[in-house]
């Protein structure tokens, strides 16, 4: 019962944050509601026992990635978004279709709700057990992700750097 109550509270916060992300017009409000979604998702992970995943959800997602987002929003001085003609089509066709699809998926899932039941901390995922898997069974994918991150760092530096022509004109001033 306790499990269901905590799940419902944080699930409701999660969905409310996700809907708030869609409703808000200003990107900084959307970013802050995304932080709420990630924080409550971390609690859902903890309920399932995935403690390591919950920790990196808070540290990496809510900490690092969202700070990057907020930083870019402030850097570019992003204001409220304006509505243009393209978005009307999305409102008229995309949203009803998406709602119908979601309702069908939820209905099918709830029809089969007797398949599996999870208790609190169903599968404990302490860092030691995760590391055991990561450095034995998943060693090659782990190394590949390190190369991916290296490429991402170089790509971000190259893309965000000022173009050569701008730098030269600055030097002449």
């Amino acid at each position: 019962m306790f499990h269901l109550i905590v799940f419902s509270i944080f699930g409701a916060i999660c969905v409310a944050g996700a809907v708030n992300l869609l409703v808000q017009r200003h990107p900084i409000n959307s970013a802050l509601s995304l932080v709420v979604v990630m924080g409550s998702l971390a609690v859902e992970f903890l309920l399932l026992g995935a403690e390591f995943v919950a920790a990196i959800q808070v540290i990496v997602y809510a900490g690092a990635i969202m700070v990057l987002f907020v930083f870019v929003i402030m850097l570019l001085n992003a204001g409220e978004e304006e509505h243009t003609r393209g978005s009307k089509v999305a409102y008229l066709l995309g949203i009803p279709g998406l709602l119908a699809g979601t309702i069908i998926v939820c209905w099918v899932l709830l029809q089969r709700s007797d398949v599996g039941r999870t208790s609190i901390g169903a599968l404990p995922g302490p860092p030691a057990a995760i590391a055991q898997l990561l450095f034995h069974q998943f060693l090659l994918p782990f190394e590949v992700t390190s190369i991916l991150v290296l490429i991402a760092i170089m790509g971000a530096v190259v893309l965000a750097a000022r173009p050569q022509s701008v730098q030269e004109s600055k030097k002449e001033d």
Binding site: L22, L41, E82, A90, T102, L109, S113, F138, L159
Partner: protein
């Protein structure tokens, strides 16, 4: 005891909110945040299935998804900065050329 399907329903709702945001939002940064929301929804179903099948590799997969999401957001935000520098706008309708 919570049925596995409730976790999957929550994950589906989060994913649908992400797709909806991707479709209706016009600000390029908010579109990007919707992608992160979709990734989060998928992560929840990964962890729920890991608990259901008692397989820790599901949680390792979430770790990989997060690494890819971090790399993606770093490169994506750098692209957004580059686009803003040349176009002076964040509206996706006005960004219709890949050429800088």
């Amino acid at each position: 005891m919570v049925p596995l399907s409730l976790y999957l329903v929550l994950s589906a709702i989060l994913f649908a909110c992400g797709v909806a945001g991707f479709l209706i939002k016009r600000n390029i940064i908010t579109v990007f945040m919707s992608i992160e929301l979709m990734l989060n929804g998928v992560n929840l179903s990964f962890v729920a299935f890991a608990a259901h099948w008692q397989q820790l590799s599901g949680q390792v997969f979430v770790f990989f998804v997060m690494v890819v999401a971090a790399a993606e957001s770093a490169v994506g935000l750098a692209i957004i900065i580059a686009v803003f520098r040349t176009r002076e706008t964040l509206n996706v309708d006005q960004v219709n050329l890949l050429k800088l």
